[in-house]
């Protein structure tokens, strides 16, 4: 068998002539969703995930993954499995019949003002 000299391969104990075994239970830590705030008062923005064994370590990792560049004042982490979501099969709940312009902001008379402002900014 070829013995790799790359420490990343030897450390991972990759047996080149062996089949890959399925992941063991808890082979990966669970994931936490990371929310990052640039300035105090701004909304926290979802920026990605980290793997971590608990919330404290998720914060520890999130700080370096998502807060080491640019502005940061605060980070939230939430267990991914605690996030309650809609089902993609139900994406059609967001569809709406078109004859309802009265419900859209575009139907209000302020559009003139908005367009006028946009024009002035462009100019």
């Amino acid at each position: 068998m070829i013995k790799s000299l790359d420490p990343r391969v030897t450390r991972a104990e990759i047996e080149l002539d062996n089949a890959i075994e399925p992941l063991k239970e808890m082979d990966q830590w669970e994931t936490f969703e990371v929310f990052h705030q640039k300035r105090r008062g701004d909304q926290h923005m979802h920026v990605g995930i980290v793997h971590a064994p608990n919330a404290e370590m998720a914060i520890l990792f999130a700080k370096e993954q998502y807060g080491r560049r640019g502005l940061s004042v605060n980070i939230w982490v939430v267990k991914t499995r605690d996030v309650f979501t809609t089902d993609y099969d139900d994406s059609d709940i967001f569809e709406t019949v078109p004859e309802k312009q009265y419900r859209e902001a575009g139907g209000y008379k302020v559009m003139d003002k908005i367009n006028k402002y946009k024009k002035s900014v462009k100019a």
Binding site: P7, W29, K63
Partner: protein, 251 residues
């Protein structure tokens, strides 16, 4: 101000940070998980940045350019404690060293934030946030792994036993302790050591880890006077390899 004394202080601090920064960076790409790999590497870069700030102060006191000082000296001219030059070993040892060293580093900078040597006090105040995270990172891992299971506990305890006497070498007295104290520049290694012991003890208790019994304490000294293990020379060689190809290159 006694320039010789200040330079001695700056050299040992800068060398500690440069060498541990380089050592810790050797984990890049090999860390236990991606997120930790990135965190540990990022902290290693912080350390090298902090050493650069101190080399810059030395330059202002008449020493050579930071790059030259960092990369053109022989290992016998380094003033780092031997603790930071030891090989990384397994991750347990690296974490324990990170914990023991960074607590001392944080306290040293805290003491220096009130130093009468204002340029150093300024650097000390600037790096406060970085080190706070480093110590938070170290505490979290140590307290998590200490009691987690038998393997992690045994590994962490063995690493602590192995590291301890070397860690005591961080606090080796320099030749100018009295001068620095008199001038209000630095309160001294003994004061730092007492604070350090008081600070790490509660975390180790929480982690269920035992500090080796006091009658076995024997500080591994010599680093501050240029006496090093055989591990430093290859590190310095590797660290300065690119620089030495063309010392005049602009980066």
């Amino acid at each position: 101000m006694n320039n010789t004394a200040v330079k001695e202080l700056l050299y040992k601090m800068a060398d500690d940070l440069l060498i541990i920064g380089h050592r810790n960076s050797e984990w890049t790409g090999l860390g236990p998980i991606l997120e930790e790999d990135i965190s540990f590497s990022s902290m290693a870069q912080d350390k090298i940045g902090q050493s650069q700030a101190l080399f810059q102060l030395l330059h202002e006191l008449g020493e050579q350019e930071p790059d030259t000082v960092a990369f053109a000296r022989g290992s016998g001219q380094f003033h780092n404690c031997q603790f930071v030059e030891l090989p990384n070993g397994e991750y347990d040892f690296s974490l324990v060293r990170h914990f023991l060293f960074d607590h001392a580093d944080q306290l040293r900078f805290e003491m220096l934030a009130n130093s009468s040597y204002e340029p150093l006090a300024k650097v000390a105040r600037k790096v406060k946030g970085e080190i706070k995270y480093h110590v938070f990172h170290a505490n979290t891992w140590v307290v998590k792994l200490g009691p987690a299971n038998e393997e992690s506990h045994t590994r962490m305890q063995n690493a602590l036993n192995e590291a301890w006497n070397y860690a005591l070498g961080i606090f080796e007295n320099g030749p100018f302790e009295e001068e620095l104290k008199q001038a209000g520049i630095f309160e001294g290694e003994q004061v730092l050591f007492d604070k350090w012991l008081a600070n790490i003890t509660p975390h180790l208790l929480k982690a269920g880890l035992m500090i080796p019994s006091q009658d076995s304490w024997q500080a591994v000294n010599g680093g501050r006077f240029g006496k090093h293990t055989s591990h430093l020379e290859p590190l310095v060689e590797e660290m300065s390899e690119v620089f030495k190809i063309d010392p005049s290159a602009e980066w």
